[in-house]
C-alpha cells in the first residue's frame, strides 16, 4: 500500500479510559476507507477476479457493483445501522441471482472486502500496535455483521426467487383440461400437500368460470393416499365448484380414500362418484347432453 494522505487528526482521547471511544475509532476508520476508496475498491475487484468469483459477470459489471457495495459497506460502518444495507443486499441479489451468481460467491466477495480493508488498516497503523488493535476491535464486529447481513439478504432473496419460479411452474402445469364444451377434467396424481391442493382448487375454480363449465370430473385414481386435511380439501373443492354452478363427479375413489372421507364426516351419498375416469366422463356427457327427461326420473338422480 502506498503512503496515503494523513487522515484528519484523531479526536481527543476519552477522559475516562484515556483512549478514543469505539465511535471515534469507527469514524476514523470510515474516513480512511473513504479517502482510499478508489484504490481499495480496485484492489478488491482484482482479488475478486483472481479468486474466480462472479464469473457470470463481466469486469465492468463487477466494478460497477463493487462500487455500490463498497459505498454501502462503508456507510453501514459509519451509521452502525444495517437496514439500508439489508435492503441494498436484497436489491443487489435480485439483480445478480438471475445472472447465475451463487451464495458462496456473494459470501466470498464480502469476506474479501473485509480482508482488503483489514489489510489496509494493518498497513496504516502497523507502527502503532495498540492503536491497530483497538481499531481492529472496533472494526471486526461491524465487519462481521455486515458480512452476515449481506449473506442473509442474499439467501432470503434467493429463496424468494426459487419459490416464485416454482409457483410459476406450477401455474404453467395446470392440469385442468377442457375436453368437451362445458366439461372440465382435473386428474390428480401423486402426493398432494396442502399447498398444492389449495392451488389446484384455485386453478379449477378459475377454469370453471373461464370455460363456463357445468360439469367437472375430478379423477383421483392416481392419488395413493390422502390424509384427512387433503380429503377435507377435496370436499371443499366440490362444494366451491357447486357454488359456481358446476356439478362435480369424483372418479377413482379407492376404498381407503372413501374410508378417510367417511371418517371426516362426509356423506358419500351426497357426493357423485363413479368408478373410473372413463365412466365419469360418460356420466358427465350424459348430464350435459340431456335435454328432456321425465321429471320423475330426474328426482331419482344422484
Amino acid at each position: 500500500m502506498s503512503k496515503v494522505k494523513d487522515a484528519p487528526p484523531p479526536p481527543p482521547p476519552d477522559p475516562q479510559t484515556g483512549h478514543e471511544s469505539t465511535q471515534a475509532l469507527l469514524r476514523e476508520l470510515v474516513a480512511h476507507l473513504r479517502q482510499n476508496r478508489t484504490q481499495l475498491r480496485e484492489e478488491w475487484a482484482r482479488r475478486i477476479t483472481r479468486a474466480q468469483l462472479l464469473t457470470a459477470m463481466t469486469e465492468e459489471e463487477i466494478f460497477a457493483e463493487a462500487t455500490s457495495v463498497y459505498d454501502n459497506y462503508v456507510e453501514a460502518l459509519e451509521t452502525g445501522t444495517f437496514e439500508a444495507l439489508q435492503a441494498y443486499a436484497r436489491n443487489l441479489s435480485e439483480r445478480i441471482i438471475p445472472r447465475g451468481v451463487e451464495t458462496h460467491e456473494v459470501v466470498g466477495i464480502v469476506l474479501l472486502l473485509r480482508d482488503v480493508l483489514a489489510r489496509s488498516l494493518f498497513a496504516k497503523y502497523h507502527e502503532d500496535f495498540t492503536k491497530l488493535n483497538r481499531i481492529l476491535d472496533a472494526y471486526e464486529p461491524a465487519a462481521n455483521r455486515i458480512a452476515n447481513t449481506v449473506a442473509v439478504g442474499f439467501v432470503q432473496e434467493r429463496e424468494r426467487i426459487i419459490r416464485q419460479q416454482q409457483e410459476a411452474i406450477r401455474e404453467l402445469s395446470t392440469p385442468v383440461l377442457q375436453v368437451r364444451e362445458r366439461l372440465l377434467i382435473l386428474p390428480i396424481i401423486g402426493v398432494i400437500d396442502p399447498q398444492r391442493a389449495r392451488q389446484l382448487t384455485e386453478q379449477l375454480l378459475r377454469a370453471i368460470r373461464t370455460n363456463r363449465a357445468k360439469v367437472v370430473v375430478i379423477d383421483i385414481t392416481g392419488v395413493a393416499a390422502m390424509d384427512s386435511n387433503v380429503a377435507n380439501h377435496l370436499v371443499q373443492t366440490v362444494e366451491a365448484s357447486r357454488l359456481l354452478g358446476a356439478t362435480v363427479i369424483v372418479t377413482g375413489l379407492s376404498p381407503e380414500i372413501a374410508q378417510t372421507l367417511v371418517t371426516i364426516g362426509v356423506d358419500l351419498s351426497e357426493m357423485a362418484t363413479v368408478g373410473d375416469l372413463q365412466g365419469g366422463i360418460e356420466e358427465a356427457e350424459r348430464l350435459l347432453g340431456y335435454k328432456v327427461i321425465p321429471f320423475t326420473e330426474a328426482t331419482q338422480q344422484a
Partner: protein, 125 residues
C-alpha cells in the same frame, strides 16, 4: 344502498352493485319477499357478482330469501359467486346447501326456465 330489483317476465332479478352492510342485506330480503308475493314471481335471481366477501350473515340472508321465496312458490338462484369468494366461503364452512347456484345471469335464467318447464335438471344439491 338500495339494490335494484328488475322484473323479467315471471322472474325477479336483484343485481347487487357493491358491498352491502347487514342492514342493506336485510332490506333486500324484505323487498324481495314482498315483491315475490306481489308479482307472484316464479323465480328469483340474486346476482352477487359484485360482492367481494360473503360472510355468515350474507349466506344466512340468501338462504332466508330462498326459503321464503319457496314458500311462496318461487325458486331462487344465486349467481355470480366469484372463485375467490367461493373458496373463502367453503373454508369458513359457509354453504348454500339447499339453494340453487349458477355461474351467471344467463345460466341462472336457463336453470329457472328448465325448472319451470318441469324438466329434469342437473343436481343442485
Amino acid at each position: 344502498m338500495e339494490v335494484p330489483i328488475l322484473k323479467q317476465g315471471h322472474y325477479l332479478i336483484a343485481s347487487i352493485q357493491s358491498a352491502l352492510s347487514d342492514a342493506d342485506l336485510s332490506q333486500l330480503r324484505e323487498k324481495l319477499i314482498e315483491r315475490v308475493g306481489k308479482f307472484r314471481a316464479r323465480g328469483v335471481i340474486v346476482d352477487v357478482t359484485a360482492l367481494d366477501v360473503m360472510d355468515s350473515f350474507a349466506v344466512r340472508t340468501l338462504r332466508d330469501i330462498a326459503h321464503m321465496a319457496r314458500l311462496r312458490g318461487s325458486e331462487t338462484v344465486i349467481v355470480g359467486i366469484q372463485p375467490e369468494v367461493a373458496f373463502a366461503m367453503v373454508q369458513l364452512g359457509l354453504t348454500l346447501k339447499g339453494v340453487a347456484t349458477a355461474l351467471d345471469l344467463e345460466e341462472g335464467l336457463e336453470f329457472l326456465n328448465q325448472q319451470g318447464q318441469g324438466h329434469g335438471r342437473l343436481d343442485r344439491g
